[in-house]
């Protein structure tokens, strides 16, 4: 499996190491949905910096992961889209709405901190 999923406090960090096959994308989706429950994670960062291509299938899968995770109580931030990939995605009209994106892992964690603090305030 070319995805490393690390647990960091309340967050899961899924670091994609190389381009994924469709099967691997689906596997990632199931595993994340599973792990969110196991670790009671409140946030997920998916680091896609190693991806040279983000096609419509991956886009759809990412969206599915985000929505699934949300139903299981976690926010998701996509991190590390490279300039070339960003240009290609825009040209192919692949829209990540309403996904949250961040420049890199650091930014993603900052964004998650903000989002999960929001949850607390909502709860409180």
């Amino acid at each position: 499996m070319s995805v490393a999923i690390l647990k960091q406090g309340d967050y899961l960090i899924a670091s994609i190491q190389s381009d994924l096959s469709d099967t691997e994308v689906n596997a990632l989706r199931h595993e994340l949905a599973e792990l969110v429950g196991v670790h009671r994670s409140r946030g997920i960062v998916i680091d896609v910096a190693a991806l040279d291509v983000i096609d419509s299938f991956v886009t759809r899968a990412l969206r599915a992961i985000v929505l699934t995770a949300r139903l299981r109580g976690a926010h998701t931030v996509i991190a590390g889209i490279s300039p070339d990939v960003a240009i290609a995605m825009v040209q192919f009209r692949l829209n990540l709405e309403p996904l949250r994106v961040a420049l890199d892992l650091d930014e993603a964690v900052v964004a998650l901190d903000r989002l999960t603090r929001g949850d607390h305030e909502d709860e409180g």
């Binding site: 991190a79 889209i81 490279s82 300039p83 990939v85 960003a86 240009i87 995605m89 825009v90 040209q91 829209n95 990540l96 709405e97 309403p98 949250r100 994106v101 961040a102 420049l103 890199d104 930014e107 903000r114 989002l115 603090r117 929001g118």
Partner: protein, 340 residues
């Protein structure tokens, strides 16, 4: 010349004369052929300054004599040439001394090229010379004029020398003309190529200069766009902006298009794509400086601007950018989408 004695046997032999008269043609084309008489040797030389031609070193006695003659009268010829250049008011930006020293160089190279049939050295020299004189504003017609003057000066000298012997003059001209034409072409082409290279370099510099990405504050970038946007420039602009976002970890980008006169559908779409791509990199973009004309055009074109944050001018854009950056540090930002 000793070899002149055995020449008469050859004199009537037109094909071999023709063959000799074409130092510019590649060896494979120099096959003796009786059907080749109608062929214009100078046109041949003009068309094919082919690299393989260099290998052919002339052993033509007529050309050898010609070269020896040109070497002997070197001083006189170059003076004549330099004088004619001044008379024709060519190379006005150069002093007489400069013209004379360059003329000497060119003359020597020219004679060498005549002798060996190889224009390589001359070509290199012509390129270097072009490099020196182009920035000083020397025009193409001046360079061509100067080369043609040298051709003229030499041809006149030949006429004077062989005045009494039309047959020999003919042979000398047969040898001289194609080589001289070829040299003129080489020098002219070198100059024009050098010019084009300079123009290309400048275009490249312009393209790079025309899209500066400026950092105003920590993690706040400004991209002022001035002048016409075409799709090549828009693509380059997008790439530069995205590279800068990553490198400087930008949160907010202000794109100012005050300096853009008109906008069409493709440019508008490029802008939307740039904004969208920046968003994928985690930066928020504010577009400022839309003139009323451009705003109306965009609305008429039906470009989807719902993703765009727009502010009237750069000043307002900066205020908004600071608000966004400050806003982000303390509070929850659910989405980067704007409320329109």
């Amino acid at each position: 010349m000793n070899d002149r004695s055995d020449r008469p046997a050859e004199r009537g032999d037109a094909p071999s004369d023709k063959q000799r008269a074409r130092p510019g043609s590649p060896p494979m084309q120099a096959v003796p052929s009786s059907g080749n008489e109608g062929h214009d040797p100078s046109a041949e030389a003009d068309r094919s300054p082919a690299p393989e031609a260099r290998e052919r070193r002339t052993s033509d006695p007529v050309l050898e004599e010609l070269v020896a003659h040109l070497r002997d009268s070197r001083t006189q010829m170059r003076e004549e040439w330099a004088r004619r250049i001044s008379d024709a008011e060519l190379l006005g930006v150069m002093s007489d001394d400069e013209i004379f020293s360059e003329a000497t160089e060119v003359y020597d190279n020219y004679v060498d090229a005549l002798e060996t049939g190889s224009v390589e050295t001359l070509e290199t020299y012509a390129r270097e010379l072009s490099e020196r004189i182009i920035p000083r504003g020397v025009e193409t017609d001046e360079v061509l004029g100067v080369v043609l003057l040298l051709r003229d000066v030499l041809a006149r000298a030949l006429f004077t020398r062989y005045e009494g012997d039309p047959a020999q003059l003919n042979r000398v001209l047969d040898a001289y003309e194609p080589a001289a034409n070829r040299i003129a072409v080489v020098v002219g082409v070198s100059f024009v190529e050098e010019r084009e290279r300079v123009i290309q370099e400048q275009q490249q510099a312009l393209r790079e200069l025309s899209t500066p990405v400026l950092q105003l504050r920590e993690r706040l970038l400004i991209l002022p766009i001035i002048g016409a946007l075409d799709s090549a420039r828009a693509r380059q602009l997008t790439e530069q902006l995205l590279g800068a976002i990553r490198e400087r970890r930008a949160q907010v980008v202000v794109i100012d298009i005050t300096g853009v006169a008109t906008i069409d559908r493709s440019v508008a779409n490029h802008l939307v794509q740039t904004v969208e791509a920046s968003r994928l990199m985690g930066a928020r973009t504010i577009l400022t400086g839309l003139s009323s004309e451009i705003a109306q055009t965009l609305v008429d074109l039906g470009v989807d601007l719902s993703m765009m944050r727009t502010v009237g001018d750069l000043q307002g854009g900066l205020v908004e950018a600071e608000r966004l950056a400050g806003y982000r540090s303390g509070e929850i930002e659910d989405s980067t989408r704007i409320e329109t």
